[in-house]
């Protein structure tokens, strides 16, 4: 009984360490550029132990992405799951959630990019989870209530919101170099303002 209780946390800890190391290496070198051997060496565990916990490199990659998707859902969902009745508030929250998450998890943004480039691994897109569906539903609801223009489909509107935020994080390395915090704040205000003006009826 005691042995059992002691074993559990240790196995969980090993699983967690492997997942963390794999996330870091996948983010740095992509799926193709990372070997199970690299992960084993960096995590200081045996190759067998990784296979025991995660079967294959493909499955490990999938778990890394699922873990990120969960973090994303948790980060955004916890703050916004109550349905906002006001377009301005909705946009400010969405912009700040999306930007906040990708900025807090630069490794997630890199993995998303690797996924786009390494075509065979694109079966699971991180952003098209329940938070995206939630945003799309809110846009639809705001359209029905006459607060958002109805001549453009909700999925196209969502694409504009995502682009404004993701695009900036991709392009921003040069622009945000000086006065970083100030420039980011200015950009986010401009983005929310621009989206509001574009979408309101």
């Amino acid at each position: 009984m005691i042995r059992c209780k002691q074993k559990r946390p240790s196995a969980d800890k090993t699983r967690h360490t492997i997942l963390q190391v794999a996330t870091r290496l996948f983010a740095k070198h992509g799926f193709a550029g990372t070997s199970m051997r690299d992960i084993a060496q960096t995590a200081q565990v045996s190759l067998n132990l990784i296979t025991h916990h995660y079967e294959s490199k493909k499955n490990l990659w999938k778990q890394v992405r699922l873990n990120m998707a969960n973090k994303f859902e948790h980060f955004c969902g916890a703050k916004t799951r109550q349905e906002p009745s006001d377009l301005k508030m909705f946009l400010e929250r969405a912009v700040s959630n999306l930007f906040g998450f990708w900025q807090k998890h630069p490794e997630a943004l890199r993995i998303l990019n690797w996924q786009r480039l390494e075509a065979k691994q694109k079966s699971l897109m991180i952003t098209s989870g329940s938070y995206s569906l939630h945003l799309q539903e809110v846009i639809g609801a705001l359209q029905t209530r006459g607060q958002v223009r109805q001549d453009v489909d909700a999925d196209i509107i969502l694409l504009l919101i995502f682009s404004t935020i993701h695009g900036a994080l991709e392009e921003s390395s040069v622009v945000f170099q000086e006065n970083k915090a100030h420039k980011q704040k200015t950009y986010l205000q401009l983005a929310a303002d621009s989206l509001y003006k574009a979408l309101k009826t």
Copy 2:
């Protein structure tokens, strides 16, 4: 004399073939994932000939990116180098140029993404060429003339324009799958409209 004249085009053709093959392979597998041997085999030339023309893999990558930057400048510059006096016209042109270029050259978008991920190769960013400077100057001029809001710096405004377009191309695979042409047109109109409303005074 005759020999000389015959040799030239042939060497140029070889250089061109190598550059084309390298562009295709770099776009597909990135810098690290492409070997000089792969390029030689696919282009059906000897490794020596590639080294003769392009010295090293790093230099070949640089030439591929320079070639793309030139294409980009040519594509956008030829149509827009006359300074537009009207914000709406300026935005519609910029949006259509940027989207048009990246859509026509998906390999360029992939190489841009590889460049972001393979940090050591980021010394030359494709988009920060003379066309970007040109756009920034026009925005500055329109600000001076009171047509564009002056509370946000021109570089931040340019970032919003780039994000709206690049972001969409990155995210669009899912959204643009059905009714592709129609959805793209709707998106571009929404983007230009959104930028206009956000930037005008």
